[in-house]
Structures are given as C-alpha cells and as structure tokens.
Amino acid sequence: MTRFLLRRLALAVPTVFGVSLVVFVTTKLVPGDPVASLLGPLATPTARQELSSRLGLNEPLPAQFFTWLWNVGQGRFGTSIQLQRDVLDVVWSAFGNTALLAAAGALIAFIGGVALGAVGAFSSRRPPRWLASAFSFLAMSVPQYSIALLLVVVLAVRYRVLPAGGMRDPISGGGPGDVLLHLVLPAVAVAMIPMGVIARMLSAALADVLASDHIDAMRARGLHRATIARHALHNALPSLLTIVGLQLAYLVGGVVFVETIFSWPGLGHALYNAIAARDLPLIQGGVLFIAVSFVLINLVVDGAHALIDPRVRR
C-alpha cells in the first residue's frame, strides 16, 4: 500500500511540472503588453525598460520559466499587477470561498447523484426507475448559468426566500448562518450537471455489478436484498470514485459561471477579472493553484481506490 502510494506520488511530479509549463506558456500567449497596461500609454521608454527588467521580461523564455518556477516553489507567486497585492494572498483568500462553494456543490452532487443512481438501479418498480433516469438526464444537460438564473428568478426575485447574490448580507454582515443561506442557490446551481452524470454513471455501474456472477451467487445463498444492495454499492465504489474525481474538476470549472451570476467572491471571479485586466501573475498563480490541487485530489482518489479494491494495491 505504501509502495503503491509512493509510486503514484512519483508519477505526480512530472504532471505538476507539465502543468506549470502549460500555465506559463498559456499566459505568455495573452496579447498586449503587461508593461504598457501597468504604466499606461504615457510612460517614458526608460521607465518601461526599467520595469521590464524588474519583472524579468527581458530574459529568454526558458530562463523566465525556471525563475518563475523557482519562486513559485518557494511560495513567491509575485504581486498582482491589477490589485498590487501579493498573489498568494489574493489567491488564498479567494480559494477559500471557492472551496466552500465547490465543497457544498460536491456534497449535493454526491448525495443527490448516489441517491438517484441507486433508485435507478435498485428500484424494482418501473416508474421510480424511469423518473430517476429522466431527472438525471435533464440535470446532466442543464447549463450552470441557466439553472442559476432560474433559481434567482423563482426563489430570490419572485418569492424572496433566499438571497440572490453575494456571500454575506451587507447590512447585518452575518455569521455562518448567513453565509449558509447565501450558499444554497449557487451550490445547487453548480451541483446539477455533476449530479446528473454521477447518477447516470453509477446507475450503469450498479447495473453491471448486479448482473455479475458474484451478486447472482449472493442471491443463490439467500442473502437479504438490502445486504446484496450494500455489496453492490461497495463493488460500484471504484467506478463511483473515478466519476466523482472527474466531475469535481468539471464542477470547479462551472463555479466560474455561478460565481459571476451570484457575485460570489471566489477564485473563478478573481480569475475572470484578472484575465480581463491581463494580470499575468494573478492568472498564473490562480490557474496553477487549481491545477495542482487537482493533481492532489487525483492522488487522494487513487489512494481511496486502493483502499477499496485489494487488487490494485500492489
């Protein structure tokens, strides 16, 4: 088990390197001159030259990359051009909010997806199976911004049950309960597609398991239906984990839309603003942060996989 994890960890190192290379190259493609956007059109050539060399922009690209990587490795992501604040600072505080939203969304997607998938696979009657399958199909097809808008219109504008935007009430400046209230709508919006996909994939995985010989053998041994359902879920867990890992990535992507509609002060929002302002260090820092956290999440998924399935632990 330890060897398995160490090998996985070793495999993650080149991935992280590749990820940082991609981040670096992508942001280098951004049109426009960061120096010009920083100093404005009236800057003198000397001032431009000075800032350029201070930012290291005169070095050849590979040198720039390794300097950047060296700094990033030590937690020095640089200063946001647009906000004039330490990038790590900005990214870290926004990341917390995004993580909260993503975690809430993931929880809804997971619970809803597993429930729908289980009904779709286990129910012995047709109508519930059909309903679960149709609902997950629709959920899988609904854009985050469409459902976000629908929720705003119905629950925030029409019936005023829940707040339509922000993270805290600006007047009461509320505590955890207030944040929770603001969290409900964006979390539901962000959860819909992953929930639908999880439900459908789990349902298919469960159908496979239920048709397998060892489940048939359990029936022949006279085990209770509930016991068999439990073992079937256990056997579908590896597939479920893989789906959840992939869907988590999709969910975090969708957060950008939802954060925009609900003005949620998260990383997607910050990134979107940074892109508009061509704030290179912030874009690099933010994207790298998210990508590396996904490499880590995948490691956790692999580890969990090995915990569940004795056959992959070698």
């Binding site: 022949a220 006279g222 085990l223 056997n235």
Partner: protein, 329 residues
C-alpha cells in the same frame, strides 16, 4: 412415495415483447434424499434453466409453469421472501465459475460467514467464525485460518471453488445444485472437486443435482442420469444403464457411441446440424427429427413420451435401441 425433489412437467418461457423462447418444455424429474442425479445435455438444452427454476432465480422475464416441490412443499407458490429463506438454507448452489462467484472486494471467510448470518443460523460472531473454519476444513481446505483471511484473487481456482462449496453447504442444505461445477477447472482439480462432492454427500446426507455437458463428469458422479435435449427429457435412468447402454439416439451420439456395424442405423458419430433454437416450435414432433438418421414417419407427427426401457429407466423415442442392439455394441 414422496421424494425430496419433485419436478413435475416444468416449463420455462422467456418473454421479450412479442417473442417467446421456450427454454424448458415440460421436464419431470425426481431426486431422492441423499441421492445424486446428473442432468446431462448440450448448452441450450435447458438443463441450467431447470436448475435455476428450482432455485427461483430466473428473473422477471421468465414465465414458469408446472410444479417444483422440495420435501413436499411447492416452491413455485412461495413468495420471494419465503423463497429467499429457502435459498442457501435448504438448497445450496455451486455455480460454474469459481472466480466470478466470490465478491472480489471482501475476504472469503466473511463471505462464508455472511450466509450463516443471513439465515440466522449462528447469532454470535465468534460462533460463526468457528463454524466457517469447520466448513472450510470440510470443503477440503487444509489451512482454513489463512484462506479465510485471503481475498479471492489471492487463491487458486480450485481453492476458490472449495470456498464456494463451503458457502453453499454452510447451512446444511438438503439439496445441493451444482451447475457445471468443474468446467472452469483443470483436469486434476476437477477430479478432486468431484471426489469432494461424494464425501460431502455421505457426511451431510444431502441430495445432489449436478448439471453438466461433460459425459466424463456424469460417469464419475451418477447414481442416476437425466438426458435433456431442446428443453425436454429424452432419456433417464440409472447411470450405468444410460451411459453404457443408451436407448435414445441422441444419448448415444452424446456419448460418441458407435452403433453396431451389423445394424442398419447409419452413422451416429456426432449429429449433423444444430439443436433447434428455443423459439422454434417443436410441439407435435420429436425435436431431433431433422438431425436424426433413424427417424420414422411417426417421429414427425407425434411428440414422443417417456416409455419404460426393459433394463431400467425410460426413453422418449418411438424407435429406441433395444437392449439387444445395445448389448451387441
């Protein structure tokens, strides 16, 4: 006279939309307590479906007719709940693929113990543990402690089959159904497993219904044999009689028996053509007609019924091989 297992004119149809497949077309079979019957036939003959019908494991698409009685109790009339409590407790099943019938994610000891728990045989965990060790030993495993703690993929095919057998006999069933129990194993292990069936039968006094396509297996096991073709029983009787002196042309072909050269019956080494599909209508004639070299006019106009054979058992053929003809061969 009431036997342990009585199958009376069993029919099984699978229905999918407009199409109906007749998998079993009227099978009658009796098995006494503590005895062994081998059901012999090619794949598609309905032998496995018959076995699963006894277990009540055919699923929603199946239409089952006739009667199945175990110790006088009609199994087909039981609801799912009652049938579940019979499975594993009164009837054990040893399926074909020893690797596939164990949960790959759990240790095998727990999977045997689970059967005891499901039927409320032993309520204390420690007692179940102890019983699992006994069962594994009974199934011929010499290191039960180590095997119980293994995952299926860590065991050999023969070892896994022994675990599956331990799970099947856990509650001391009166009837053990073995569906091609040795097909996936290599020859030496096959013999060991069949031997194990014999010793378990003597020790636990259970009846065995063994389904196979393998004449060799039938020879080793049979106290009596039932031969099935196209969903029907074509011949049945004591093992030595059916396997040494077959009365039905199909049985003879299955055994690869050479007909006597002096008897004008044509070549029977293998049958030309394929068995009829389950959707073919074979009522009112013998299902073997297109492939049988001895068919007479009567074969195409009436369904043959089982008639007693002079030296034991019965055969469904209007022109069976007489004892004389068989003895010559």
């Amino acid at each position: 006279m009431s036997e342990l297992l009585e199958i009376e004119n069993l029919t099984v149809d699978f229905v999918a939309g407009q199409r109906v497949a007749h998998a079993v077309r009227g099978v009658t079979l009796r098995l006494g307590a503590g005895r062994t019957t081998v059901v012999l036939g090619e794949s598609g003959s309905g032998k496995s479906v018959t076995a699963r019908a006894v277990m009540g494991l055919l699923g929603g698409g199946a239409r089952v007719g006739g009667a199945v009685r175990l110790g006088g109790e009609s199994l087909l009339d039981l609801n799912e709940r009652a049938m579940r409590s019979r499975r594993g407790r009164d009837i054990g099943l040893v399926p074909q693929d020893p690797g596939g019938s164990l949960d790959p994610l759990r240790k095998v000891g727990a999977q045997v113990a689970e059967v005891l728990r499901a039927h409320g045989v032993l309520t204390s965990r420690a007692a179940r543990r102890e019983r699992v060790m006994e069962l594994l030993t009974l199934a011929g495993i010499r290191t039960p402690e180590r095997v119980a703690k293994s995952y299926p993929h860590e065991l050999s095919g023969g070892m896994r089959q022994r675990v599956v057998i331990a799970a099947a006999i856990a509650c001391g069933p009166r009837l053990l159904i073995a569906d091609e129990p040795t097909t996936a194993l290599d020859m030496t292990v096959q013999a060991q497993i069949l031997e194990l069936f014999g010793s378990l039968q003597r020790e636990l006094d259970m009846a065995i219904l063994l389904v196979t396509h393998d004449v060799g297996v039938a020879r080793l096991m049979a106290s009596s044999v039932v031969v099935m073709y196209a969903g029907r029983v074509v011949e049945e009787g004591p093992g030595d009689r059916v396997l040494d002196r077959p009365a039905h042309p199909y049985t003879a072909a299955l055994l690869g028996a050479q007909p006597h050269p002096g008897v004008p019956r044509g070549e029977l080494v293998g049958l030309p053509g394929l068995p009829p599909s389950a959707t073919t209508v074979t009522e009112g004639r013998c299902a073997l007609v297109p492939r049988c070299a001895h068919a007479v006019a009567e074969c195409s106009t009436t369904s043959p019924v089982l008639e007693p054979v002079t030296d034991g058992g019965s055969v469904a053929c209007p022109v069976p091989w007489t004892a004389d003809e068989r003895r010559v061969g």
